[in-house]
Every structure is written in C-alpha cells, then in structure tokens.
Amino acid sequence: MTTSAETSLSEQEEKRTWTDYFTFNTDHKVIGIQYLVTSFIFYLIGGALAAGIRTELATPESDFVSPELYNQMFTVHGTVMIFLWIVPAGAGLANYLIPLMIGAKDMAFPRLNAVAFWMIPPGGLLLMASFFVGAPQAGWTSYPPLSLMTGKAGEEIWILSILILGTSSILGAINFLATILKMRMPEMGFFDLPLFCWSMLATAAMILISTPVLAAALIMLSFDLIVDTSFFDPTGGGDPIVYQHMFWFYSHPAVYIMILPFFGAISEILPVHARKPIFGYRAIAFSSLAISFLGLIVWAHHMFSSGTPGWLRMFFMATTMIIAVPTGIKVFGWCATIWGGKIRLNSAMLFGMGFVSAFLIGGLSGVMLASVPFDIHVHDSYFIVAHLHYVLFGGSVLGLFAAIYHWFPKMTGKYLNETWGRIHFVLTFIGLNLTFLPMHQLGLEGMNRRIAIYDAEFQTLNIICTIGSYILAVSTFPFLINLVWSVLKGKKAGANPWKALTLEWQTASPPLIENFEEEPVLWSGPYDYGVDVSEENDQSVQELLSDVKADMS
C-alpha cells in the first residue's frame, strides 16, 4: 500500500521511538496516545474496584469488605471511571484526530497540550494515594454534609485530585476550540468538518463553561472541610442545596462531555463501514450544539427530590425532555445511515451498532427519569445505576472501543485482529446487559444504591448482575491480548484501510511527525461514500459521485 514516495519520506523524517511516549512531548499524536493509554490503565483499576463492589453485592450481608471499605470502593470507582477514564479518553481521541481531520500539523498550543496531559498522572496517583489515609466515602457526587463527616484527609485529597483533573480538562478544551475554529485548512468550511470535530466543538464549549463552576464548588467545600466555614453545612447556617446546584451545573454537562466525543466517533465510523453517506449531516452537527446549550440548563433534574420548588421542577422537567430531541435526532440519523448500507460487520462496526442499541436503552430510561413523578420513586435506587451505566458503559465505553478498532490501524499501521475483536465484543455486550439490565428491576423494586447491605429478597437479581460483571472483567483480556499481539504481529494496514474519506486517512499509517507529507486535498465531503478510492486524476469528483449514485440505485 505504501508507495515509494511515502517510504522514502518517512525514512528522512525523524522516527518516533517508544521512549517519546514517556516524555513531555508536544506532538498531538504522542499526546493522544499518552491520554488513551493512561486512561486505559485507570479503566483497569476502576474495573477491578467494580469487580470488588459486585463481589460484595453477591450476598445481602456485608461479608467481603467492610461497609466503610465498600463506600470507598464505589466512590473511587465512580471517580476513576468518570474523571480518569472516559473524560481523558475522549480528550485523547480528540487530540489524536482533530489536527489530522482538519489538515493541520498540530494543535494550536502544543505545549499547553502536553501540560494538560501531564496533569492526569499526578491527579490520578493522588486519588489512588487516598487509600493510604482512608479514601473518600461520599460517592463521586461528594454531597455535603456527608462528605464533611467521613474522613477529612481522603475527602480533601479527592477535592485536590478533581481540581487538578478539571484544570487539565479546561486546558484541553481551550486547545480543541482554538484548533477547530482557527486551524482548519483554508478550503475547509464549517460544513466540511467531520462530525467528530463538531461534537468536540460542543464538548469543549461545555467543558469551558461548566468545569470552572465545579472548581468554585470544590473550593468552597474545601473551606468547609479544612477551616470550618459553613457554606454547605446546615448546622453552621449554610445550605447544602447550593452545593448540589453548583455540582450539577458541572456534572450534568459532564455526562454530555463524556458522551459527545463518542457520538462524534460513531458518526464517523458508521458511514465508513456501511459505505453510505451520513444521514442528516447538518442535523447531527447542529444537534451537538443544541445538546451543548440545552445541557447547561437541565442540571436540577438530579435534584427533583432535594426540596426543589414545584415551578423549578417543571422547568427542569421540560428542558430535560427537550434535550432528548437532539439526542434522538442523532440516533435516528445513525439508524438511517446504516439502513440499506453495504455493512462490513467488523469489530468497529459491531461496537458501533452495539453503542447505538445500548445507548438507546439508556436514553429511554433517561426520559423516564425526566418525569418528576416517576423520578421521585426511583431516585437514588438501582434504576439510576442502570440508566447511567447504559449511557456510560453502553454508550461511551462501547463507542470508545468502536473508535479504537476503527483508528488503531491509523495509529499503529497495524490492524487489530478480527477474531479477538469479535470475542471481545460478544463478551462485552453479553456482560453489559447481564450486569445492568436487572438493575432496572432492582431499582423499581426499591433497592437503594450505594449500600453494602440489602434485603435478602433482592439476592437473585444481584447474583445475575455479579455474574455479568465477571463476564465484563473477562472481556478485557481478549482486548488486551489483541492489543499486544496486533502491535507486535498484526496485519499491516495501509494509509487508508477502510477506504474512508476524512483527511486523517490521506496520510501514512502511522502518520509522519508533522502529519501530512503532501498538502492534504479536500476532494470530497467527509461522507460522500460509494467512492472507494480516488482513482484516475482526470476523473472529476462529480463524475465519481455520479458513478456512486448509479451504483447504489
């Protein structure tokens, strides 16, 4: 696949060595991989904690770990999965892909980019270190007054760690915005942008606006914790509800910060492997912006049972239901995209379709929760746990795996193995549904979340969940084996193994240090599929496209 021109050039270029990945390197591709690998390591840690949680919950008594340790485990599990796995993994993908997709050599601020990455390992290690002094126990939401009563040291470490990770995320967002807005190749207009870039635009805007408010809340919480002010402590005249508002002003957008990058990735992956143009490009692009805006005004749906006044509940119920519309538009667009396509059912596509179906379930339970009367009954029950895992695991994690199978050939020049990939998918998909589907039932029957001890009548369903979670744990091994094997011995992939049209496929795999050996050519829209290769130069794009249309009808 690679031509003589490519090889001779890449030989001239300086080569990346593995040691580069351990240094303060400013190449966006190195940083992207640093993000992905680091966050994956934290995924394994968070996964181990989850297995511990499920083991404890296999029986109604508290026998595997003490209730305190159980609290610490689910708190750190949630924090790791959110702040050290999904958020940075999304940032990693964005780092790797954005400059390539827009035909740039690097991000707008390469050094800032490296700084942002290098805040993640210390932030993560700090959080892990909290186990030595008694890890935080108040859940990833850290509501006061609970968070003020369960161990100062662990809680303060949690706060510091989140402040570091939040700052990293903000610096990353500044880079994404500047790069997408200002570094596109001259002939690329906004409507030539791949949808992944649109989704990152929306994500970065949300990060920039909402994360600082979390920082403000955590600064105030720190004061309460350390110097005994009482911003959030009702015994001293403070108001814990203020914390909840500030926290959810960040953390509702945060759930979209965690899903939008993968919405974007799926919008890339489905058309490529279905060999069809994306259905409703503009609708999907604008729905990202709509989510970004609406996502900022729905936060109090997490507080329907916090004494929120009726008129406010009405408002937030309405906005929450409205936000399902842009989300639904995307799901509709994806289904229409693969409908009647020449689907290549490889691992990337399997994960992509798994994403759409699992996310749909989570989206639907979300709409149920948006309704105040229903939410009041299931708030803080396992129904919420089911909802959030269908969107975060079924959505973000499956989307991330789809992205890895799809872009791995670009990042390494090697294909991932398909057999291992399918085993990985099947185990993951079965494990996911086995673990989280029964939780809907548990929640409806009234099992509380965040509790180590439960009523014996719930045990059967809990055992099913636990078995599912072990399947999920096992499912990581085929993936790990696949990664290692493919990096070492995988089948070589050329510049454009999937015959995709976005610009990242116009350069070698892996790309050269400054991305493109020749100036990339924007010779078609990102999704004008049906055209597999740019054949003869003399054939105009118009002709190629009409060929495709004839071919498809």
Partner: protein, 205 residues
Amino acid sequence: MQGSTVDESQTLNYSQTEAAAQEEEHPDLRMFGVVLFLVAESMIFLGLFSAYLIYASVMPQWPPEGTPKLELLLPGVNSIILISSSFVMHRGQSAIKKNDVSGLQFWFGLTALMGAIFLGGQLYEYANLEFGLTTNLFTSCFYVLTGFHGLHVTVGLLLILFVLQRSTRQGHYTSEKHFGVEASELYWHFVDVVWVILFGLVYLL
C-alpha cells in the same frame, strides 16, 4: 492506494519549500487562547457570585443578624485606584504600539504600583475588620470572594512585573510583537471588571 497518485518529485518539493513557508502563515492564536482562558475564569467567579446571591436571597436576613457593618471609605478609594489603573495600563500598550519602550515601562510601572496599593489596602482592611473567616456565612463569603479576587490581582501584578523585566531586553517588545503586553493587560481588565461586580455584591447590596 490513495497515496499512489502522489508524484514523488512534487512531494519532496513541498516538504522543503512550502512547509517552511507554511510555518510562517500559521496565525498567532495566543490572544485567542487567553480569551478562552478568561471565559473559564469568569465562570469560576460566576459560580461564586451565584452561590453568594442564592445565600443572599434564601436566608431570612442578609447579612445575618449581628454582622458588623462594612466600612466603605477605604474599599471605595481602593476601587477607584484599581479601576483607574486599567486606564493607566492601556497607555502602556498605546506606547508600545508606537515602539516607545520607555513609555511602556513608565505606564506599566505605574500600574504595578497602583495594583500594589490596592493589595496593601485590602490587607489593611482585613487587619482592621471585626469579624473573621468563620464568624458567619456572610463573613465566610466576604473573605473567600475578596481573597480569591485578591489572588487574581496578585497574579496580574506578577504578570506586569514579568513584562517589565522582559521589556528591559533589547527589542523584546516591538510595535508589531507584544503578546505579553496585550495578554497581561487583558487579564488586568478582567480582574478589574470582576472587582466592580464583587464590590457591588458584597459591599453595596
């Protein structure tokens, strides 16, 4: 296969000449970055201010009963100093636009002095207040808000001093190229605007 249409000689050509040319073309995005950063900063303050406003509106009495009245004279004078320093600082930028480095140094030096007076005044005020950080909810808000703002003034002051030190290097700032000057000035204006809102909320409301 896509790559196979690439003509070797052309590629090599591009990498040597055009690549070098492109390096120059890449516009300077640093100011844009600073603006984005300040958006994030504003949101922290907005978060703190909103919390303050919620307290002020839900508490039966605000400030809570028994809170000593705040003196207005000193902070008032202080505010005037800080606000005027923004105008003083702007003259520094105008000076460097005319390549006048000593003008830049004069006006920025004056700004730094005014900033330092502001901080001194703030500390003096703290030292003479009859309440502490934990006296009640209002006083906690008071110290955290003014303290967090004071921290920003300090950072701004350090930036100005940094620019002053850099300006002593021959040709470091020119009429064309003075990112440091622009960025520190924008930051200072930001800190100023925040103060005006903060003053209104905490002292006047």
